[in-house]
């Protein structure tokens, strides 16, 4: 607390305590070292004062009275007594009440050993129950969804899970039912607790009423070893990784004020199952014969030693560089690695081999300059009370779950106004102040009008498909709050259109940002929201064409980098699309796949297949074999999250630590070690032998990371890398999108949370949660199709066709058709024209 802030003085058990105005007594006391017992109070949710455990004597001048300290705000001169006889008796009484019907089945309860009720029973209550009547009993356990079980008789009705579902997640699907001592938490009949965030209720349950299916009966808390780390998602959610017998068994969210506030998505929370998959790669693989003998012309992947595999790779690289030059080597992927791994691969490819054909994204994100060349926002800036958020990105609820929770909180509680500039509704739409759901591919015109640009509405009175008056209202709202921070969440709202319209829209907003900055206002900044775990680390570490570690261009590396690396590529290389194109044309000899699956992921699988078929040697480093790496010639087994140490960079540029807590399977190694070893075989000594050593080098050579010492990033919320010498280069010519003809619908496609991705599909508890593909239409358009919801129709674009069930969805604007990008069953890429700015489809019924 700074000196300038107003301070309220209270006494807690006679000791003077300085508190902030509005602070709750329970929080002020805890800060001063006096822990008041509690069950329902949770600092990230509104207090309800239900459990009454935190009841203490509070005297505000009218004599001491028992009051719940979680509901009472501090006031000057207040005297709090947490140890009075009366307090003690009340708390003992509440604890006895709570235990009346509690089954005391601690020996078979997952919570045993880390249970607030168990812990506080040691300190409060009579020790032996005076309750001799029959306890309440319920059928146990009941699933509230596929991941969470509920044992109602253990429940103490603290309202934490139900408040979380309602207040935090916005999925109020579990609730109190019945009343009196028959009150129970339950789902509505026939409606499961379908929430992407249900696992958080397990973590915050103060008893063992809610348990997670993937963890039930797997371990006891006292057998777990744990380490605080950073989950490798673009948010960089802070987690505690818990393991037993060298196996990760649980992730728990950590309350990082700057990032995830303790929450995790179910996808991330339960993804630890994938790490233990039988299908993990354990030894290097090379081409060989069916009998397992290594043979460069073999059709199979056979096991090899690290020595063999590394030597084969080094020989192939040397041969390629010698015969066709460094440009014949390309690197795809690396966005899921730690910063240190990324740096080592960047140094290998750009410094040692000398190729700039490096791209961590697969033509499904935004160019590096759009992330590094625009003023960068933090999550907390986006959530500044009274500020404005412009969503120019895919639905955060699907793509960046904890960002959705933070934004939702900001909009609901802190008066942040949300303006959606997206081709369809998101999980936040019902909270948005303005919903500008434009025609796919026409974001730029709407953005121009939004920042006050002169755009004439079409003959239909619309701009980019949005009614002109709606755009004008949003523009007025934006201008009206221009003295407060404006934050643009920038990503790829739809993969059925090229990145250009989004980049043009960003350029419009960037111009507005410059205008605001000139006026001395807090202005407008961008919070990039891209796909893949450490994609922001990859961009900072130079795993993109034209950039080097530390947010510098090829020419601006500075002396430090050039000195350490020796040399850097002279001219910018190709991005993922260019690399695949070059490969398909036979110009790529060596293709590295660093945890990448262009066949499964890139928007153009046809091109990806042609590319993989013509590359001389594909060298993969991955945790699993996928459709692309199955075609590789050399495969290195890579260590995954929690199997290696390092650091992570989130969408703000915030760098936090990751820790190793288990050993990788088999002989799998960290990626930095693989790159370093290859470099050594190619004659370059990197001179580092640990992630810490690499980080030390990064802080020496990367301009944006100079201040970020190991100590700085070890802080609770890590440290944010700032500064960049990259400039944003929006596409030159405005992409003209054709008119949609009257019989067609324009396609929108974005990723869903549960998908056919590697981690989800290798985690047994998550794999089944991926929804089946449907084509969603606006109800008006749906009526035109004239079939029942769920009826398969034939969808035809000019590149492909498929049968898919069609459903009505009011979140899809008229004239558009929405199709998830990554369903396990049907692949929308068969319909998308990767060359065109937009793809139109027609629907045929049979």
């Amino acid at each position: 607390m700074s000196e300038q802030e107003a301070v309220v003085s209270i006494t807690v058990n006679g000791e003077e305590v300085q508190a902030a105005p509005g602070e709750l007594v329970i929080a002020a006391a805890e800060r001063s070292g006096v822990y008041i017992p509690r069950f329902c109070y949770h600092p990230r949710m509104s207090p309800v004062g239900m459990c009454r455990m935190c009841i203490v004597d509070i005297d505000t001048g009218r004599g001491p009275a028992l009051q719940p300290s979680c509901m009472v705000e501090v006031s000057e001169g207040m005297a709090v007594d947490t140890a009075s006889d009366r307090t003690r008796k009340a708390q003992d009484g509440v604890l006895e009440f709570l235990l009346l019907s509690h089954p005391l089945d601690c020996p078979i309860c997952d919570k045993g050993g880390e249970c607030p009720l168990q812990d506080q029973t040691m300190d409060y209550g009579p020790g032996e129950s005076r309750f001799v009547e029959e306890k309440r009993r319920f059928k146990k356990p009941i699933p509230v969804n596929d991941l969470v079980y509920l044992d109602r008789e253990r429940c103490i009705l603290c309202d934490r899970c139900t408040r979380f579902a309602d207040e935090v997640a916005g999925d109020p699907l579990i609730t109190f039912q019945d009343r009196g001592d028959h009150t129970q938490v339950n789902t509505f009949p026939g409606l499961p607790f379908s929430s992407y965030f249900s696992g958080n209720t397990v973590q915050i349950c103060p008893v063992g009423a809610l348990t997670a299916v993937p963890y039930r009966f797997k371990a006891r808390p006292w057998d777990l070893t744990e380490a605080e780390s950073t989950y490798p998602n673009p948010m960089g959610d802070r987690v505690v990784v818990q393991a037993s017998r060298d196996q990760v068994l649980r992730y728990q969210g950590v309350d990082s004020d700057a990032v995830n506030w303790g929450w995790l998505t179910d996808k991330d929370r339960f993804s630890f199952e994938a790490a233990a998959s039988e299908l993990r790669l354990r030894t290097p693989l090379v081409r060989g014969t069916p009998l397992g003998r290594p043979d460069a012309d073999g059709d199979e992947l056979v096991e090899a030693s690290w020595g063999q595999a590394l030597a084969m790779a080094a020989d192939a690289i040397r041969a390629a560089v010698d015969s066709k030059g460094p440009q014949s080597v390309a690197v795809l992927g690396g966005a899921r690695l730690a910063n240190e791994d990324q740096y080592a691969w960047a140094r290998l490819s750009k410094g040692v081999i000398g190729t700039d054909n490096v791209d961590a994204q697969l033509d499904d994100g935004l160019p590096a300059d759009a992330v590094l060349g625009l003023p960068r926002a933090t999550i907390n800036r986006a959530c500044t009370p009274g500020g404005t958020v412009v969503l120019l990105a895919p639905d955060p609820k699907e793509a960046h779950g904890t960002l959705y929770l933070r934004l939702r909180h900001a909009v609901v509680n802190d008066g942040v106004q949300l303006i959606e500039l997206t081709p369809r509704a998101s999980g936040l739409s019902h909270l948005a102040a303005h919903r500008l759901h434009h025609r796919p591919g026409e974001a730029a015109a709407v953005a121009t009008a939004l920042v006050g640009g002169d755009i004439e509405a079409g003959p239909d009175g619309r701009i980019g498909g949005v009614p002109a008056e709606a755009v004008a209202a949003a523009a007025a709202a934006l201008a009206g709050r221009a003295d407060q921070p404006i934050t643009v969440i920038l990503g790829r709202p739809s993969l059925a259109e090229s990145a250009d319209p989004t980049l043009e829209a960003a350029a419009e907003l960037a111009r507005f940002a410059k205008m605001l900055a000139a006026g001395g206002r807090p202005g407008l900044a961008f919070l990039p929201a891209l796909h893949r775990g450490n994609v922001f680390g990859a961009l900072d570490m130079g795993l993109a064409p034209g950039v080097l570690p530390g947010r510098v261009g090829l020419d601006g590396g500075g002396t430090a980098l050039a000195e350490v690396w020796g040399s850097v590529p002279a001219a910018p290389g190709a991005d993922a699309r260019g690399i695949l194109k070059a490969a398909a044309e036979g110009r790529i000899e060596i293709l590295f796949l660093l945890g990448a699956d262009p066949l499964g992921d890139a928007p153009n699988p046809v091109l990806a297949q042609e590319a993989l078929a013509r590359v001389g040697t594909i060298i993969a480093s991955d945790m699993f074999l996928n459709s692309s790496t199955a075609q590789a010639h050399i495969v290195f087994p890579a260590a995954g999250f929690a199997e290696r140490g390092g650091t992570h960079t989130n969408l703000e540029g915030r760098i936090t630590r990751q820790r190793q807590i288990v050993t990788p399977p088999g002989t799998a190694r960290a990626d930095w070690a693989i790159a370093t070893e290859l470099a050594r075989l190619l004659g370059a000594d990197f001179g580092f032998g640990s992630p810490e050593g690499i980080w030390e080098e990064i802080t020496r050579v990367a301009p944006s990371h100079r201040e970020l010492s190991a100590e700085a990033i070890a802080a609770a919320d890590g440290a944010v890398a700032t500064g960049s010498s990259i400039e944003f280069n929006p596409p030159a010519a405005s992409a003209r999108v054709p008119h949609v003809d009257a019989y067609s619908l324009r396609l929108v496609s974005a990723r869903r949370m549960f998908d056919r991705g590697t981690i989800v599909q290798h985690a047994p508890s998550l794999a089944g949660l991926a929804p089946k593909a449907v084509l969603a239409l606006n109800p008006y358009d749906f009526q035109r199709v004239g079939v029942d919801s769920g009826t398969p129709v034939q969808v035809v674009s000019h590149v492909g066709e498929m049968d898919v069930p069609v459903v009505a969805d009011a979140g899809v604007p008229r004239g558009a058709a929405a199709f998830g990008y990554n369903h396990p069953d049907l692949d929308v890429r068969e319909l998308i024209d990767p060359q065109a700015a937009v793809t139109d489809v027609r629907i045929q019924t049979r």
Binding site: V48, G49, M50, C51, R52, M53, I55, A65, L66, P68, M71, V72, E73, R86, K89, A90, D92, G93, V94, E96, F97, L98, L100, S101, R130, F131, V132, E133, E134, I156, L157, F176, D178, R179, G180, D181, H182, T183
Partner: protein, 498 residues
Amino acid sequence: MLHWLRAQNVALLTDVYLEFEAGLNVVTGETGVGKSVLLEALGLILGGRGRTQLVGPAADRAVVEAGFTPPEAEPSDRERFRALAQEAGFPVEDGDLMIRRELRLAPGRRSISNRITVNGTAVPVAVLRALGAVLAEIYSQGEYLALLQPGAARETVDEAGGHAPLRRDVAAAFRALRAREAERDALQERLAAALNEAYEAGYVGANVLGAADFSVDITLHWGAGAYIVGEETALIESLEGNRGMPRLKPPYFPASIGLYGKPTIVNNVETLCNLPWIVSNGGAAFAAMGAESSTGTRVFAVSGHISAPGVFEVPFGTTTFRDIIFDPGYGGGLRPGRTLKTFIPGGASAPWFFEEHLDLPLEKTAVDQAGSMLGSGAIVVMDDTTDVVKACHNLVRFFARESCGKCTPCREGTSWLEKILSRILAGQGRPQDLDLLMDVCDNISPGISWPPRQTTICPLGPSAVSPIASAIERFRDEFEAYLPATAVAVTTSSAVAS
């Protein structure tokens, strides 16, 4: 008698024609060959339920036909058959009867439609069911025909499961519920009609009685009768569409943060009813009535063991309990030959009063000082026939059931109190139970003082404390009398020992 049966596209039978002779006919065949399908086909003829699965997989319709001679043996069957034929309007020539039933699948195979003819005349399926009862009897898996009737099937299952009494209870409760709903509906209608009249007369609505600057709307909002929703913040929660659970004060004082977070005044009907008189006659006239500290009039409901229970409006503060209970103009005294044991002065949550309190005036300060309250104005009189343990149990059970379940001491405490009292009444009390009751009360309402302190959010929890504290303090012997002899003996011996 059944002469022939033809089934086309019924389940796995594509086309089967069977003729039957007089006497015993036996149809045999291997398992799975379709004998039971024939029975299903016959069932269709006799009015069984047509199901989509009965239509063969390759067909869009199933057809069953059968030839009968109408019943002759039993005169009653003959009569019924003739009556049926007449009512349904199908011809009966040369004593032959041909029934044809066709099940047609709707596109998508999700539903079926029936085409039924009896001797060429279309009839509804109900006719087949009635015919079935006189044409054939199928003895096989159960009372086949009877089970076609949903009601009969339900009855059979209930009888078999021993649930007939329960079913009757549920039916009776349901009828009672419906009756109460109808009663409530009538009251709601009446209130709504009155409000409409008020609108029409210009007493409510825009520009009341032509006033340019005064408009008021009244919205009727129907609750479902939860006691806790009488608490003002719970009422507000309920109005907002949430569970009727009280809010915590502070910060939710309705006058500052009320309905939808706006300042709100919550008044009960009694208060509002006073307004017209006060407006017409002036505040001074109202204040001139009653005592100095409790002015005006108040309404009291006197019930219980009393000759003339009723609702009485009396001058506030000057009337005494003795007046309102014994005065022939009010309660009219106890039933003949009875003496007063105790009375509740102001609703179920008020501590009890006794003989010595009768001369207290119905006045706030005096009643408060005597350790209770006028509260809701509901005076409940109990005479010497009252079993105070049962009375106490009845009151506590009420509070346990009406507890909303929000805060721990009330939710758990009230039901614990009820369970202990139930056990005592069942003769399974323990000597320590009386002290336990008092200590549980103390944990809900620390000190068991008046006015009550509370560990709860709202006063409902402490309300359950009042009857127990009053009853145990005054009538401890009656509670002890419920304890089993052995339990009492233990108390006695320990008393002797000490």
